[in-house]
Symmetry: C2
Subunit: 167 residues, 2 copies
DNA sequence: AGCAAGTGTTTTACTTGTAAAGTATATGAC
DNA sequence: GTCATATACTTTACAAGTAAAACACTTGCT
């Protein structure tokens, strides 16, 4: 049986016989897997009234286990400053994060999880991981490991480019 | 050297020692690879004044090599009908696709590439494939093949779910 | 024929994200 | 001290997508 990307590659071969479609086999599939996974995995978040991006902010605050400034959050979650501003407003209004001014630098503020925020992320995270695991469940564990390793190689490569960096 | 997702996994391990972070190794990396690739690969499209989604419509018309209705385009490009309507308006205004009414069914129209549209996609496609190839170039060909195969397995699995289907 | 139900497409109202400009504060040269 | 420049963050104006409603037409039942 053939996946949708293999079908698309064959269609291209028919109209452009000379074309080397090999890169599509990786990148097309990666795109398609991403979209299907995202669609599936965002559903449980919606039930808690959060978008993926908001969840990522709570996650960053929890896993780094300390206060973060808006720009640190932007870097950690690979988001623009403007996007972080909006999300923090929402998370503050919902009482999930709290803001504290910096003592020395008036431009900066520090965000932390409230009790409620921490409770929420600690409930959601295992849910999310389990859900992710269920999406992969049809793949043998050894295949999952191979896939993780190959994606790690690729990611390291892509991170080497001009692109964004963490922390 | 460690990729960003491996770092995040270690951070989670520190604050939640019991947590099985293995699913993140696949899904987190897949997400991150997707975002970096998208960011990189969309740049050449912008130079031609197209978004990825508009490019996908031209691509579908080219590779299927026949007229398509808006709903066929929606299915082929995994987009909502509303999104397709907007994109077709833009592509028509730019003279890249042409619309023709159906003889028998007044609700339906048929879209085809104009000469200009076909010239554009035939120029862009090899560019895009080459660009994709360059993103993967740091990975040995054999590793690329393995990655494509594993992603194909995963994709087949994910397509089996309730989700969207092609053609 | 006439109407209920279904299908194909577009429109509307809204959400989310971005780039660029704007605001406020800090830093270093003089 | 004060000014130019840099930094941190927010606001604004806009782009692009969606879900649900609206619209237009077709189909099949009677």
């Amino acid at each position: 049986m053939e996946d949708i990307v293999a079908q698309v590659m064959r269609q291209w071969q028919r109209v452009h016989p000379g074309l080397d479609t090999a890169p599509m086999a990786v990148i097309g599939r990666l795109n398609r897997c991403f979209l299907l996974i995202q669609q599936a995995a965002d559903a449980p978040l919606r039930e808690h009234g959060l978008t993926r991006s908001e969840f990522d902010i709570l996650g960053a605050l929890r896993r780094l286990d300390r206060e973060l400034t808006p720009s640190q959050i932007a870097r950690e979650t690979f988001a623009s400053g403007a996007a972080v501003t909006k999300r923090l407003r929402f998370l503050e209004e919902r009482g999930l994060v709290a803001r504290r001014p910096d003592d020395r630098d008036g431009r900066v503020s520090h965000l932390s999880l409230t009790g409620q925020g921490r409770t929420l992320i600690d409930r959601m995270l295992p849910e999310q991981v389990d859900y992710d695991a269920s999406l992969l469940a049809g793949l043998a564990v050894e295949r999952q490991r191979e896939l993780a390793e190959l994606l790690g190689e690729l990611l390291l490569l892509l991170e080497g480019r001009p692109g964004v960096r963490a922390l």
